[in-house]
Symmetry: D5
Subunit: 107 residues, 10 copies
């Protein structure tokens, strides 16, 4: 099950530099680990910002929360979570998913 | 798995009154049905607005999307979805869930 | 009488760690107490944030205010209160409440 | 129990003028009636806008919702509800209410 | 002449506690004084926030400004001022004020 | 007593052209009249928008409201009113007004 | 080169149903085509909305613009484009990209 | 050439009081000077805020920028600049400026 | 003198197609003309939107306003104007402009 | 390939003045260098703010990100990136680019 997550990071200037480097290194290690486990499936840098846009594949919302909450840089993040599902116009969906006829949403 | 959903409804004035009543009736029937199935677990009216705040218990995000997309009034709704998980300070959680020590989020 | 409350918590980094742990522990105890008294009727964690969405059942607005104001973490919270009432499409309401015919709100 | 309500009215131009005058007249009659019953306790016009700021004294949120929902102009209103309670610095409160010591909210 | 004022207070955590108590006490005394003089005509606490909604009856905008500017907690407030006038649907207005026919504002 | 007013005008396309020209002409005549009476003391066009920024000198808020409400284009305006008062750093104020010492507002 | 694009679709209710179905079908065909060409690399449905979050791999901004502009549903979309680049904590980047030491962005 | 400028001032609490008084005094002197030179043509205090609304008459944007940038309190200001031009409904314009027929902006 | 202008265009669907094509053609001709006169000095398309970002070089604000107001598509535009001036770090400025020492703006 | 970038700079007051001057000087040198290389093609100061509006001509998004991330003042900037492409109404485009017929975007 997929979740789109934007993380805007702002590490306080007065954080001890060594502590910051430790946190950043642990964050990077954790990210690589979660990618290896097929959980952190997409991770992109937003151009011009200390932010990323990611997609997580998790069993449920509890797993996603614990995962985000455990990120070393979590205390310095603004996190926005958007639930995703399969889009009817994807190749994979082409075979399986027929979305109810598209009715014109409220305009 | 729980999702918090706010729905703000605005049915266009020029919708045929009979069609509107049909939609509203089908919406009510669908809501009652989903409550009976234990999916629509909470449904409250927001005071002073044609809006509701609901909580859904679903298997995954796909089920939630299809369910919302199939609501008769969906085309006239603005929908805001927030993923929920168990809070460590709930009675149930008291026995089971120990949230990692609370670190001060970014301030 | 029900109120929907979202609390976004941001404990300052420079708060003495022992004081923070005390506050968090007292907050948890207070939350469990109010749940036992049937006042704090719902408490969920918002995924990816140090925030909760709650529903309180209180006698009046004064009780809700005093309750929120007395939470140990109140000084570090951004609180959003939404008044709720029974929705005409709930099972309970099915028997009792007939909402005036739904007229199309302003679009 | 007091609620602060802001109502921003926007009657569609293409509403039949006679119907509009009827609605406005019924709205005025309803407002006068609710004032006589001590429910609509304050009603002011916001300068430069077809909006009002009001204070309602109601038994509970259900009564407030039904009252607002039943206003003839409700379908053409944007409504914002804020729950109020007694302020510790009011003359009346001076005798009765001692608010827990004011701790500095989150800054 | 009436003005609606919302004040959101946020006293910095690092303000000397004794100084804070002095300010809060002086603020309360000032509020009581202005209420006695019939200037601060309404003062309510916003539920769940260190905020108030007030109505002031003043001679002119200069008096309102000086009054707000002189409040002990003014340096720690976010203040929103809305000019009010008599609403044509109030009982008092019923006898005196006939608002020009209500034309449909821009929608 | 001075009020700063921003008016954003949006005349619907489907308004009968002759009616629009009549309204615009009456609006212009009314503006010139109010300027002659020293009430509409400043009127500037916002560059790139069908908007103006104005300053009105009125006796009280009621006069300002009636004046705005009576503008021919009022039904097609979004109006923002800001109460003004004399600034202590103006030449006129230099002689008369000594603002209480400037304390640092909340930062 | 990757771009993150959110598309919020709102097809007007008064669009001829046959025309709408044609547009939706052509949109789906175009999406499948671009996916086959490896340009539309990710396409997800946002839960509860007639919206998608996509990632495009294009040669340059001109190609992205022409592509979006040519989508059958483009006239009924609100489009938000975010430029992406490789994140230093991705597995691929692990070998190649060493981001300049992370300095604490403005807080 | 006229520019409308809103300045919201927030002097940090921890600024040395003597330095703050010096800055405020120099700001006042500068404002008086620019008024005498007919550059700072209007200066009003926004009621209830440490803010002013001003109108500057300058040769070009460079002059306005240098002037604002050189204000002693500039480092503690949030500045909003709006370009103004003559309104066709002003008395002066009545003789000179005939604005192209007013077409209904986008609604 | 330079002004940065963003124009978001939204031509109503129900505009007669021939009229729309005429307007678009006249808009294009006007844009080319103003570019030839060195007034419309930069014109870029915002990727994914019917919007442009432009820079105009004009004598004064009046000229800019008349120019924008006279654009054939002006009635269907949302226009945002930002006054620009020379930046001290430009090559040209390198020789001429020494900006007063940069003091830290309000943070 | 062009990108429009707005940078709002806010250097913390408590940054060592010498360090600030060093950063500002290095920022200026870097800006001049990138202008010489034809990468930083436009750089304007926003009137009344410690902000600039720039246009960069880069090979891809990665180059833009690294460039922005390496700016000495990046840690104290809020950066907004907008992808640009050639506008069909530019002189250059006049010869080459024929944009698909302009269909009325969603209104």
């Amino acid at each position: 099950m997929l979740f789109h997550v934007r993380m805007d990071v702002a590490i306080p200037r007065d954080l001890d530099p060594a502590e910051r480097d430790r946190l950043v290194a642990r964050e990077k290690a954790r990210a690589l680990q979660l990618q290896e486990h097929g959980i952190w499936v997409h991770l992109w840098r937003v151009v011009g910002a200390y932010s990323n846009i990611s997609v997580f594949d998790v069993q449920d919302t509890g797993e996603l929360h614990d995962l985000l909450w455990s990120l070393p840089l979590f205390p310095f993040m603004r996190v926005e979570v958007t639930a995703l599902t399969e889009h009817p116009s994807t190749q994979r969906a082409g075979q399986t998913v027929a979305e109810p006829t598209v009715r014109p949403p409220h305009t």
